[in-house]
Each structure stands twice: as C-alpha cells, then as structure tokens.
Symmetry: C2
Subunit: 301 residues, 2 copies
C-alpha cells in the first residue's frame, strides 16, 4: 500500500475489521489511504466496496494465509481463498468493473513436493497441492485464469515463494524467531530459541522486493498468465536462524520443538524467476539486510 | 451403475431427488441398487449418506454438467462441482472412510483452448479453463489432488473428453439431434434438423466405454494421478450429424441456429490416452454403433 501511495495512486484498502493502526505504514501513509469494509465471503460487502472504490487495478491478497492453520479448517480456508476469489471477480464484473486489471497473489505451495532434480520450478509444471491452503490457492488460480475468458476482469497470477521482512506476522517462522530473540535481548526469559524443522531450504525474498514485483505484474503482466515471484536461490532455514542469532548478539541456544513441525513440509522450494525478470523486475535487498530489519522491527514492537 | 451391479458389487446411488424410474437401467438393475439421499452442497446430507453406505470405492460424478449453463450461474456451478468435491472428501475423512478409493470425474474442458499443433493433449499440460464449468472442474481437481496428502481419501482423476450414448441428456448436442430426428421420423414437424456450431472437432467415446474406463481407473488407477479418458481421435461434428441423418432415413435438412452457439467454444479437442490404456483399458464400441444406439434410444422415449 505504501508503494502505491508514494507513487501517487488513490488507494482503497479493503479490510474486514477496524482500520489498521500504525504498524508497517507511516502516519502520513495511513492518512492518505482510504479504508473500506470488504469481505470476500460476502457478496453484499463486495458489491458495496466495489461501488465505493470503482477500482482500475485490484491487488487481491485477501486470504487465510497460514498453511498450518489450513489443516484444521480446510473448508474455511477454501471459502475465503478459493470461492472468495471467484466472488470478487464476479462482483467486479457485475459492478461494471470488468475492465479492471486484477493481480491474484497465489503461492508456490501450489506446486507441492517437487523432486530436487526438477527444481528450480517453472510455471508450466503441473500443480500438486500438498496442503489445504495450497489446494485453495490452486483453485483460486483456476477461477482467475477463466475470468478473462468470459467478460470478467483479466487476472495476472503471482505465485509467490517465501518472503519476509519488518511487520511479518510472528506466527510465521522467521518473524517468530526474530520476536523471540528481541525478547531475549530485552531480558525476558532464558537465551533459548525454540524452532521447528530447520532443514528446509527456501527461495526467500524481502517483502519490499515482493511488493515491487506485484506492482510490476499488475502494471505489465499478461492477464491469464502465471508468474513465479522468487529469487531463484535456495537458503537453508538453519543458516538464516544462525545469522539472526548472530545479528541479535544474544548467543541464544537453538532448541528444536516437535510441536512446531508442520504435518506436511517440503524439504526444498526454489523457483525459476525468468518470466517476472523479463518484465524488468529484479530483487534489490540482500538477505542479511532483510534479517537485520526483521530483528529491528521485532524490537520496536 | 449397471456395470457395477452386474459385477456383483453392492451399489449405493446418491441422489438429490426421487429415485430414478426405468430409464437407462433395467428393472432388475434398479431393484438391486440402493438409492440414498446425498447432496454435495450439504454437510449433514453427506455425513448421513456416508454413514449409511460406508463406501470402499466412491465414483464421484455429482455435478452441474452443462458448460452452457455455467455461464449463467458461475457461483452455483462452483458450489456444486468444486466446493462440493472438497465437502465430499472432508465428509469421507470425517466419517471414518478416509481409506476409501475415490474416482473424481473431471473434464477435458479444464485444458481450455489448446492450439491444434499442441494436440493430442497430454495430462501434464498446464490448465487454462475457458468456461466457469471448466474452472469449477479444475478447482475440484486441486481439492482432489490434495486429499490423499493429509489423511483424506486418495483420489484418481478422470479427465473425460466428449462421450455420448443411449440415455444422454438431450440438452447436449448429439442427443438433441437424435431426439429431433426421432421426432421427424415419427411425423412430428418439418424434416429440419436445427443445429449449432458443427465445425468443432471432438474426441468422442461411447458412454459404455467411458464407464468401463471409470471402473478400470477406480480399481487400478494411481491415487493423486490424472488420466485422460479419450479415444485419441478427432471427429468433426458435421460428419457425425450427417451419419445420424443417414441412419435415421429421414433425409432431414440441416439448419444452423445462432442461438445454439456457445459463448466460448473450442475448435478442436483431442486427448492423448496412453496413460489409461497402460492400465489395460481400450475403447470397444465403434462410433457408428454409438450413433445408431443413440437414435434408437431417442425413439424409445
């Protein structure tokens, strides 16, 4: 949102609860944004929100974003992520915004467990979702690909690989570690960092680079086309955790907690990013900077 | 259903209305089948039906099956075909039938408009649904592929290409032509056959061969795998209509009716059937026999 406000766009932020307080947005940015109630599970809410905003471009990120949480509520996850996407696209068409450009933010999780020899993963690979979250995102893609074929908005699909940065929800792995380390540095509790499976390797980007990719795709992507949003490089979570500990200066000890393991986890996930790079986007923020900023963000909370 | 009853299986037929009268089933078959109320849009109905049947194998064909009808009700089609599949799989798991084998009947429509040079279509091709019906089936596949990954039933997916035969709903093209010709032969109306776009070419099978393929897939297919169900050969609709007219002996004249055209239609749709043939299935009924039986079935109505 900050990216678009600073580019001079009129931005309407769809929310389902009270307007956000200062968090990742500066006060000035918050003042410029217009918050509207928008619930993708409710047709009336969608119609009213679209009527209010009359969008030319829609960044569709509304979703239940926790892979772990999707196992306990597959149908709820599906309703928001998959059916919610179809409802949004139908409402745009029905509300006279069939010409809008839509970016659907999907996820690399849709590929499922891909053998290491078949990575980096290209967009043409058949999908094989391994979690209810991944299935819901893959289904949303199907609604999105079809939309432009029958008078609905054309949709560009971003398949995002892992990313993090300041403001990232501490239910996710790296921000959870940053918060624990910030707590340790502030003198709360033992110098012990509790972690899950650290052997996974991930293609990880800074969220600020990802945001620039989304804007690039919304403005220059081909509707009906899928783009991986990724760095093309894999980093082991173990090494990232060690860097975080080093940056924190706490010398914390790592303790593995089996309860933090996911029911299904993918050992390696790295993408082929040639398609999005061909549109002119390239990542700019080095991983160490991202980790340092993540830690600093956690300390300011 | 007849195929399974004659093989000595105990068959439960899920229906949403009154039990079927004699139609495509013989009286003896109808007596042996057990009809249960089963609505894939209703969790309570699913739980009760699964409790009653305790299935070991599930043939999942419940769906809104009209491509044309899906354009006027995309959300309703999605609710039955896509979300209905997820509800069924969740109910099987929740009802203690997570070990059941499930066959999901999907559709070649999920591939969308494929350039002629890229046909026959292989199962690994990226999906690009062109109708709301196709999007709903593609989404159902995503739920099905994921099911076996987290304790739900393993699902074999059949991507059926066009098929027809006695008993086929006359809202579809070939049975509609057969019904018109039967009416003409019975002396009702002018000898004029009203048709839509006859230039399309389709990979067409007899429904009885398709049923045998479904049984083969349910029994021997690999869960989490997709199989085209197709002949591998394309036939132009024009030629099939001419054969039907010849078989009818009516000498009816063809009249093209623009209202019978679909909003989106695919000029060619032919599949690569090597995967299902590798399981031992092969089509047995020649096209001319199918057309003759279709006509005979229309006359008996």
């Amino acid at each position: 949102m900050r990216e678009l406000l600073r580019a001079g766009c009129a931005v309407f932020g769809g929310i389902t609860g009270p307007a956000p307080e200062v968090g990742t947005l500066d006060e000035a940015d918050l003042g410029a944004a217009c918050w509207i109630q928008l619930d993708v599970t409710d047709d009336a809410s969608l119609a009213a929100g679209i009527e209010a905003a009359r969008p030319e471009v829609v960044y569709h990120l509304a979703g239940q974003s926790s892979v772990a949480g999707s196992f306990s509520d597959p149908l709820g996850t599906w309703d928001v992520n998959a059916t919610g996407t179809l409802r949004l696209l139908s409402a745009l068409r029905g509300g006279g915004c069939g010409e809008a450009r839509v970016l659907l933010v999907s996820s690399a999780e849709v590929y499922g467990a891909v053998p290491e020899g078949e990575q980096p993963i290209r967009e043409v690979r058949p999908l094989h979702p391994a979690s209810p979250y991944a299935a819901s995102k893959a289904a949303a893609e199907m609604a999105a690909l079809q939309s432009g074929e029958s008078g609905g908005p054309g949709v560009v699909i971003a398949r995002s690989f892992n990313h993090t940065g300041p403001g990232h929800d501490p239910r996710f792995a790296l921000p959870s570690f940053a918060h624990q380390l910030a707590g340790i540095r502030a003198g709360r509790g033992e110098p012990v960092l509790r972690v899950g499976n650290l052997s996974v390797r991930r293609d990880i980007l800074d969220v600020r680079d990802v945001v620039r990719a989304y804007r690039c795709l919304a403005e220059r992507g081909e509707p009906g086309t899928v783009y991986n949003v990724c760095s093309g490089e894999a980093h082991e979570l173990q090494g990232m955790v060690e860097q975080l500990i080093e940056l924190s200066g706490t010398g914390a000890r790592i303790e593995v907690d089996a309860e933090r393991f996911r029911p299904v986890d993918l050992p390696l996930l790295v993408g082929d990013g040639h398609r999005v790079r061909a549109l002119g986007w390239t990542p700019e923020i080095p991983l160490r900077q991202t980790l340092a900023d993540l830690l600093e963000g956690a300390e300011r909370r």
